[in-house]
Symmetry: C2
Subunit: 366 residues, 2 copies
């Protein structure tokens, strides 16, 4: 029992508590898996950048903020059209508080991050409406498995996050191809979730590929190839490679369910060592339904960091309470890891204080 | 005291024993740092490939053999002109016996290895006779420092090896630029050490750069830029990043002295946590003098795996006793790590048996 940790058990409480117990006092490695796609540039789909072309810079900029404490490929930090800062700010604050190391892994990024990154031989993704979105899915997956197997030998557990604009649309694509009912259930970084736009893109992509709902149930590699994104094979391979040996916390919102579905289709045995770690804003979101997707796939727990910015002194952070951004760059999972690794010594108040401190520093506020 | 381990203390026995003691029972990560150069293609300089153009494939092929147990970018395995197999065979056997994980890191490789590798933003090296051999030295170094700092938080100690054809020539270049007397002292993978060819290339490179012996004593970044290779900033940065926190075994022959000189010039404080780990064939080599170089630079121990192939049933392995190949791909350091991590449970007889087994498998012998 861990009653005093600031972690919510959103789904499968019993397994969730057992999973969190395994993290207690142990040292993780945080891997950020980045990629870019043309899907992220479809008008209205993503809040990851003010302008569509900017989405090519969001993942490398997030990676730089997370690992270096500042961005190098852009000035400032990634923000939504309303000026709300990237959730990398939350993840970075949590990881630094708990002294958790970071490794950046590229599934295929048009703009390279200006830091050391694990190259898996992938390419940036195309628009899923082409029905041919991702190259080398099997090869990238296989390489990620090797990386996961090797990294599992040096760390107690892995926390894996993502940064990829348009990621919930490609998640809906892969879930649909695999026969998981996710229409109206995937999350959004915007307060008004553009479900219709996402559905339209997925329908167009499946049609262009000559596929339909559930037609690729037995072929997850082709599902990602047709209507997925390059983050997925990298992330899924890391999970498959590592979770045979150590616990793996999949850090993200509804995008994680697409990765979960891929892992479940390729290697379900490892899922006994896997949990999803997200934020309170995702599990409490009325415009999406992470539990409703997960329970169609596999019996893994969903944990949520009990982050609460309602008392923040900064409007840019309070906005998270209105459903803006919600999650990303492993913000929820990084917070859970910081809490778990320090046996609860890090709590939500400390996290908010550190996030506010970094927010003020990065935004030039006082 | 560790009297029953198959490790020789070639230089600075007292510190060497203390260092080995720190490895006992602990779990390392092995990093292979690869790069390619045009220097490696100068006729007569390197035994790393039968034909000069083949040297572009040696480092990625070594990386694949080490991590995957077989090469992907070439058929078979890298061999000398006489058909003697790459020392990656030794390193791979040692690491697999001791279940030591591997991470490949590229300082700049013309041919990419077909596996996950850490990209540090470097480019392949030019011929040092141009006097302008390596791009982005400071940037690659800085990125490697970040990788070293982060990886040091998950592993007990690091073992870092290299694969770069022509590496002793670029080592002589950087040592000379830094004012270390290394003429006639660097090793060779060939039985007849072509000291004159190496000297001529280095002299031409220094002259082309407008530099001379010792003129870059205070500027190691420029020394590598002018007459070094892209493995060096990657390797040196990893050492500087990690050795502030954990022991680092620099796994290699006389090339390690050039990296040591760079680290010593940039951040000598970390050297209290550093040792060189090589093979008996290097420390007993009459055509080179690793101790004579090290003692000009810093007071670090030199350990040597007491490998002995004289009783091998294979001529291709017996050849190592005649001074062919000697070291590379961290063969000596990987063997020391396997011995140390298992508290001597792995010894030189077990290593030879495993090396012979893998040799037979890879060469299709019985």
């Amino acid at each position: 029992m861990t009653p005093d940790f600031d972690v919510l058990f959103s789904h499968n409480r019993f397994k969730g508590e057992a999973f969190l117990d395994e993290l207690r006092g142990n040292k993780p490695l945080f891997i950020l898996t980045i990629a870019t796609t043309e899907t992220g540039k479809i008008a209205g789909i993503s809040a990851a950048g003010k302008y569509p072309e900017f989405t090519d810079y969001t993942p490398p900029a997030d990676a730089e903020l997370l690992q270096l404490g500042k961005c190098k490929c852009i000035n400032g930090v990634p923000v939504t059209p309303d000026g709300i800062p990237t959730p990398a700010l939350i993840a970075m604050s949590a990881l630094r508080l708990a002294d958790i190391p970071v490794l950046v892994c590229s599934g295929g990024s048009k703009v390279k991050p200006q830091l050391p990154f694990l190259d898996l031989g992938g390419n940036p993704g195309r628009d899923i409406r082409t029905g041919s979105a991702v190259d080398n899915v099997k090869e990238v997956f296989d390489r990620a498995v090797i990386a996961g197997e090797n990294l599992a030998k040096v760390t107690d557990y892995l926390v894996i996050g993502e940064s990829i604009p348009g990621g919930t649309t490609t998640a809906l694509g892969v879930l649909s191809a695999l026969g998981v009912k996710a229409r109206g259930k995937v999350s959004s970084s915007m307060p008004e979730n553009p479900h219709d736009l996402k559905d339209a893109a997925v329908s167009a992509g499946l049609a262009a590929a000559g596929e339909s709902f559930g037609s690729l149930r037995a072929d997850p590699v082709r599902a990602v190839t047709c209507v997925g994104d390059p983050m997925m094979p990298a992330f899924a391979g890391l999970v498959v490679g590592a979770a045979g040996q150590i616990p793996v916390l999949m850090a993200g919102g509804t995008q994680m369910t697409a990765v979960l579905a891929v892992v479940n289709a390729l290697n379900p045995d490892v899922l006994c060592n896997v949990a999803i770690g997200t934020t309170r804003w995702v599990v409490n979101d009325s415009s999406s339904d992470i539990r409703g997707i997960v329970e169609q796939i596999a019996d893994v727990p969903v944990l949520a960091a009990d982050l609460d910015f309602s008392s923040s002194k900064f409007e840019g952070l309070k906005a998270y309470e209105r459903g803006i951004v919600k999650e990303g760059v492993g913000a929820g999972g990084a917070s859970i890891a910081a809490i778990g690794s320090t046996e609860g010594a890090i709590n939500k108040e400390m996290l908010l204080t550190e996030i506010e401190r970094n927010y003020a520093l990065l935004m030039g506020l006082k």
